[in-house]
């Protein structure tokens, strides 16, 4: 059971109340990029076994999207932060 405290509304949400948005920090390229760069954007994800930065939405609550650092094996949440913020944990991982 995934359990995340929404950084906007402050509520602890279970996975039933959340929507997963996939990997975070995938930059949307400009129209002018090469086919390769564009299809990388479309299809390629890091898919790590372990620490993963990702997007979640408090969809049954306040409706806000936020970022999370999660372990994809243990489902431990290492950090949660708003889009406009910077994560300590995420920087350490990077």
């Amino acid at each position: 059971m995934i359990l995340i405290r929404c950084p906007y509304c402050g509520e602890l949400r279970t996975e039933d109340e959340l929507t997963y948005g996939g990997e975070a920090n995938i930059a949307r390229p400009a129209e002018t990029v090469s086919d390769e760069a564009w299809t990388d954007y479309l299809f390629m994800r890091t898919n790590p076994k372990g620490i993963h930065q990702e997007q979640w939405c408090c969809s049954a609550g306040c409706g806000q999207w936020f970022k999370v650092v999660r372990d994809t094996v243990s489902h431990r949440i290492l950090d949660v932060w708003k889009f406009e913020e910077v994560s300590q944990a995420a920087e350490e991982v990077a």
């Binding site: 995934i2 996939g22 898919n47 993963h52 990702e54 994809t72």
Partner: protein, 418 residues
Amino acid sequence: MKIRQYSLRALALCALQGHRDWPPAWRTPQPKSSYDVVIVGGGGHGLATAFYLAKHHGVTRIALLEKGWIGGGNTGRNTTNVRSDYLFPESAAIYDLALRLYEDLARELNFNIMLSQRGWLTLIHNQHQMELAAHKLNWLKCNGVDGEIIDRAVVRGMLPHFNMGRDARNPVLGAFLQRRGGTIRHDAVAWGYARAADRLGVDIIQNCEVVGFEKSADKITSVHTTHGRIHCERVGMAVAGQSTALAAMAGFRLPLTTHTLQAMVSEPIRPVLNHVVISPATGVYVNQTQKGELVMGGMLDLYQSYAQRGNFPTIEKVLSAVVEMFPSFGQLRLMRHWGGAVDIVPDSSPILGPTPVRNLFINCGWGTGGFKAIPAGGLMLAHSLATGSTHPMAQPFGLDRFRSNRLVDEGAAAGIAH
């Protein structure tokens, strides 16, 4: 005297000796320092690859490396369903090849895989699904694959425990039936291929993890394992759930994400369900094993996960759907639930064939449908490993399709998970 052929006669003869004469189903060799082909992954696809490579292509110096025990990944965790009622001709071709190979596999391997072609029923709940079913039926007939649409009364006869009453939330107008669909004893597929491959000289090395690749230019020259370095000419990879990590080791990326697919069984009961049933309204499927347990599964857990374990929200969704469909199954008991790690590709179709590493060939991305494709997946990878080229049937499934966006999106065409 060691009896090598399996038969009723052999069983009877051995019984007289207290079954002391059975040899090991496969050897436990130490890895040699060099092979022609190294296959990474001892699941169904890897084992089938080894078998076909040895049988059809005469390659004898083959090592199959498995980091745990053979058949211990998704081969040993899936819901054992097989069918080939796929829409796109390229998918239909590959899955129907798999089913045809399965149909003869027990005799080919001399190992009973207990293929039970009890019929696969995709329920039809509304007019739109009826139109989809009609389309599917036409397409299958054009592709030369069997299928039929049965009406409500026939469904009622086939599924006596199914709720056809007015209180049912999802009415049933009929079902799409593929009679050749059914179930297989999953472990037997791994063991049967392993035994047959072993007899053709393949070295099956368990508890041997690949830890790196040694490359020269864009070719792998040797594989580093927990049992030491193995030199090889070509490498095949069939490691569902670990594909991203292995590809990274070899220096390239794959367009896939790893998710948990859950499955669960009830306690064994007397035969109450003689077919495999899936409801598109819920994505939930049910069949009953030969031993009597109901095997149930549903949709993926939508977030990426390597956890390989079950999780209660999905269990609740699946089981409430089962009880909604079969109210009397509410009396049964959930005995065990688990999860497997599956590789999901954007178009839910496999990735087969060459990779950016010249002598490394891949078989991955089967998503939730890998078990039913094992013989074909093995045949395709064996072809690549033997010839260095891609089998015509595997052409549409190359890694290059993502550059041109020529996807084979069965899910989008069918509206149903595999």
